[in-house]
Amino acid sequence: MTVDSNNDLEKQIAEWRAYMRRRRELHQTDAEELEDHLRGRIADLTEAGLQADEAFLIAVKRMGSLDELSREFAREHSERLWKQLVLTGDDGGAPSAAKRRELPIMIACAAGAALAIKAPGLFGVDMNDDDSGFYLRNMGLFALAPLAAYFAWLRRVRPAVVGVLVALFALGAVAVNAYPMGIDTQTIVLSTIHLPIALWLVVGVAYTGGDWRSDRRRMDFIRFTGEWFIYFVLIALGGGVLTAFTVGTFSAIGLNAETFVGNWLVPCGAVAAVVVAAWLVEAKQSVVENMAPVLTRVFTPLFTVTLLVLLGAIAWTSNGIDVQRDVLIIFDLLLVVVLGLLLYAISARDPAAPPGVFDKLQLALVVSALVIDVLVLAAITGRITEFGFTANKTAALGENLVLLANLAWSAWLFLGFVRGRLPFGRMEHWQTRYLPVYAAWAWIVVLVFPPLFDFA
């Protein structure tokens, strides 16, 4: 065999190998084994007097069709058709340096989170005493500061961005701790709810690696948020089972594990789970289908039907909406759900695809939610003008308006898109541009509301 034909053969084999590697059923080691076989066959055929390229063709032919081959491999290794989240390395190949770095950083941040939540205990701030208010107020800080640190570390963000992150977290810490709010006031409850929202968007800055102006990065953060939430809930369910078994088994041998569970397992586990869930989302990003869009597909039709029936019932019975104390909160949450359904449908949509049935369904969902919300607002405005503003009512009303504005414009853009007048990208752009509005509102509630309502 001449050097030239040898080179040609190597090239052909390399092409064949690349072709094999495209099949998910065939792992690196399988391809290597098959290649060894191929080379054995070629060597025998050339010895028998064939040219290298002829030998290659015959050897490939005798190997069998790739379809048949991968079908047989799939039958034997059916697990390969289920994408597996492999924590260390991928089918024997060495993981990239970045991937190797992820795990220790995650463990460090999760451990840091678990230690941080126990640290105030050293200074006599006890979890189950009167100090529980301290933990409640600072919950967002304890949970999200390690997460922001994780992303800042992972993405190696610029020192200037780190400075911004630290400043914002410090601002949040000062606001919830320095304001003289009593433990059972409305303002402290509002701060406790809104600080995590504000800080979550700060985490977004770290997540984007400081590139928070980019629409694409913001959309990534929205995707991340949905997946993170699902993973966190799954981990929390697992944690619940662990807790139940811990308490149950220890009480069976006459030991009371409840103090340990309440003071250590649950708080440390919860803050660590925040980081672990984030790491899982990142690790499985390219391995598992995103779950939030799948849920969106399932629930969008159901919510649409429910809202349309509700509207029909309001029209049919001409029952006004009974404005109780909590009614605004329920409708706020409804808007949040509708917005979530919208966002996660957008996040998974191919922007170039033409409008389809699902888009029309989504438009119906948004419009019906808007109509219902307008009815609620009309009902509640009367009540507020009658009884005046409290912190709770103002916050709920403000949230409602923030969401209403988003959905109203979304509906308009959606209508344009369904009628083929606007590109889908406009919708995406609108949603990602709107993120700072949520941040601004959350910070207003945390920073401005307590003094505005006399810390009541």
């Binding site: 080691t29 399988d30 290597e32 084994e33 098959l34 290649e35 060894d36 076989h37 080379r39 054995g40 066959r41 025998d44 050897a59 005798r62 190997m63 069998g64 048949e68 081959l69 047989e72 491999f73 039958r75 034997e76 290794h77």
Partner: protein, 124 residues
């Protein structure tokens, strides 16, 4: 002579186990040996040997190791296990039974008479 797919598939496991019982070997060598032993009558699609080997490995009948020579490419060798030897013995018994039965049929020749169909249900 062409041997049908079903027969090839049925005989594959005992053939591979039998060859490995003689000593450690690798895919291409096993295939060549099958070819020689059958005088070229047993036509296997080369690639399909490997899913079979992997199945036998998963079942614990064979075990594999990668040998890396100082020069050249590494190669995966298969070795039969004790469990594989037991399986081979069992397969041999089964095949012997099948072969004996067939031989009985071939040799009986004309002495086998068709059994007349019983006359049921025609009295109506």
């Amino acid at each position: 002579m062409h041997i049908t797919k079903d027969l090839v598939a049925a005989s594959a496991t005992p053939l591979v186990l039998g060859i490995l019982a003689e000593g450690e070997s690798y895919g291409y060598a096993i295939l060549k040996q099958v070819n020689e032993l059958s005088g070229g009558h047993l036509e296997w699609t080369d690639g399909l040997l490997y899913p079979l080997l992997h199945r036998l490995e998963r079942l614990g009948h064979v075990e594999s190791t990668w040998h890396s020579p100082v020069e050249g490419r590494r190669r995966k060798y298969y070795r039969i296990t004790d469990q594989g030897l037991k399986e081979l013995a069992e397969q041999r018994r089964q095949w012997a039974a099948v072969v004996d039965t067939l031989r009985g049929v071939w040799n009986a020749g004309t002495s086998l008479r068709p059994i007349p169909a019983p006359a049921w249900g025609v009295t109506g």
